[in-house]
């Protein structure tokens, strides 16, 4: 069997990176937006930890699915993906005062990991079909690319969120509003995410 060269793994890393940063297939980006919506720039470590839990979950399902250990109906997966986004958006809106409880720090990575399990099944069928004979390297490279892509998306997201927070703070100077800019932004982003993902869930319903 031929030994893989560096160009081999680099190609699959690029493939994963392109896949996650493709704005045409916005479901992963929307999920990352929902995950990041509650964080400030200074919380980047916590957000990165949550995003990595998502990658771990999604790598696990991808690995199980491409090796035929797990076989999930594609139509069901396509429906469940927007459901995970809706659930994350709802959690953002419901859990109001995160500063009081340390529980968020524990359950959010678990939540992201579980939802990652669903997302991983999303493209498992494609990889399983295409790389029937030698899946290990493409799978590894693809996941590394996805993690790198997620970090890039999160960096851009935090830059945009910081700008939005400053804009909200500037508008509020003359007003009498009590909510913190980060809460206003989190609610706004979560509302957008909820509306879009609910629509997708209805359109993708398998019944």
């Amino acid at each position: 069997m031929a030994k893989p060269a560096m160009s081999d793994i680099a190609a699959y890393i690029e493939l994963g990176f392109r896949h996650i940063t493709d704005f045409k297939g916005a479901d992963h980006i929307l999920f990352l937006l929902a995950l990041a919506a509650i964080y400030r720039f200074r919380d980047w470590r916590e957000c990165l930890w949550v995003a990595t839990a998502f990658t771990v979950g999604h790598s696990l399902t991808l690995g199980l699915a491409v090796t035929n250990v797990l076989n999930i109906r594609p139509a069901l997966v396509e429906f469940l993906i927007p459901i995970t986004i809706v659930a994350t958006g709802l959690e953002n809106l419901i859990a109001r005062d995160r500063a009081k409880g340390s529980g968020t720090r524990r359950y959010r990575p678990v939540l992201a990991g579980v939802f990652g399990l669903v997302h991983g099944a999303g493209f498992a069928n494609y990889l399983r079909s295409l790389f029937v004979d030698d899946i290990a390297l493409p799978l590894f490279g693809f996941n590394v690319g996805i993690e790198l892509g997620q970090i890039c998306v999160l960096v851009l997201t935090f830059i945009a969120f910081t700008a939005v927070d400053r804009l909200i703070a500037a508008v509020r100077v003359a007003g009498e509003g009590r909510a913190a800019p980060v809460r206003i932004r989190a609610v706004a982003v979560s509302c957008v995410v909820l509306l879009v993902a609910t629509r997708w869930a209805i359109q993708r319903a398998p019944w």
Binding site: A2, D27, H28, E78
Partner: protein, 167 residues
């Protein structure tokens, strides 16, 4: 504050209305394996493509309706692949592809073509624009095995018909 809330509501509504279609997240890719046949010095290309997308593009290229069972005449497939995969031999000349065969496994099509009398993969250049017509997020993987090593190249839709040397 009310003004900000009104803007937020308007933006939310606009984005939700704009997201009319349920964007799924398919992986639009093909895999082309290249190897040198030491017996006759020809270069063998085996293309793996998803039957639904591939048959639709081939049918469009041939001016036929999309076949429900993905079955297409070999001549149509060969003609499409020859138009989408360009090969230059080490001397820089265009090398025509010759049809070898086709098989189906599950939802995948395996198309085999060859370039006669290449003798070496060193200096061979290649471009793959398979399915670029239909998907602007298409990324074609070309994998070559030579001297016991496997190399991969990517041909993304944005790159156009750019010939790349086999590593």
């Amino acid at each position: 504050m009310r003004c900000v809330a009104a803007i937020v509501v308007c933006v939310c509504a606009a984005i939700a209305v704009e997201a009319r279609t349920a964007w799924t997240h398919p992986l639009h890719t093909t895999l082309t394996e290249i190897a040198l046949d030491s017996a006759d010095g020809s270069m063998r290309l085996t293309i793996r493509a998803f039957a639904d997308d591939f048959s639709a593009v081939v049918a469009k290229h041939a001016g036929r309706p999309r076949p429900a069972d993905y079955n297409l005449p070999a001549a149509d497939i060969a003609s499409y692949v020859a138009s989408a995969v360009s090969v230059e031999d080490p001397s820089g000349k265009h090398a025509p592809l010759v049809w070898v065969g086709l098989r189906r496994t599950g939802d995948l099509m395996w198309i085999t073509m060859r370039v006669p009398s290449v003798r070496t993969l060193h200096g061979v250049k290649l471009a793959s624009t398979l399915l670029f017509e239909d998907f602007d997020d298409q990324v074609n993987i070309v994998q070559s095995t030579y001297d016991g090593h496997r190399h991969s190249m990517l041909f993304p839709a944005g790159d156009g018909r750019k010939l790349k040397p086999i590593p």
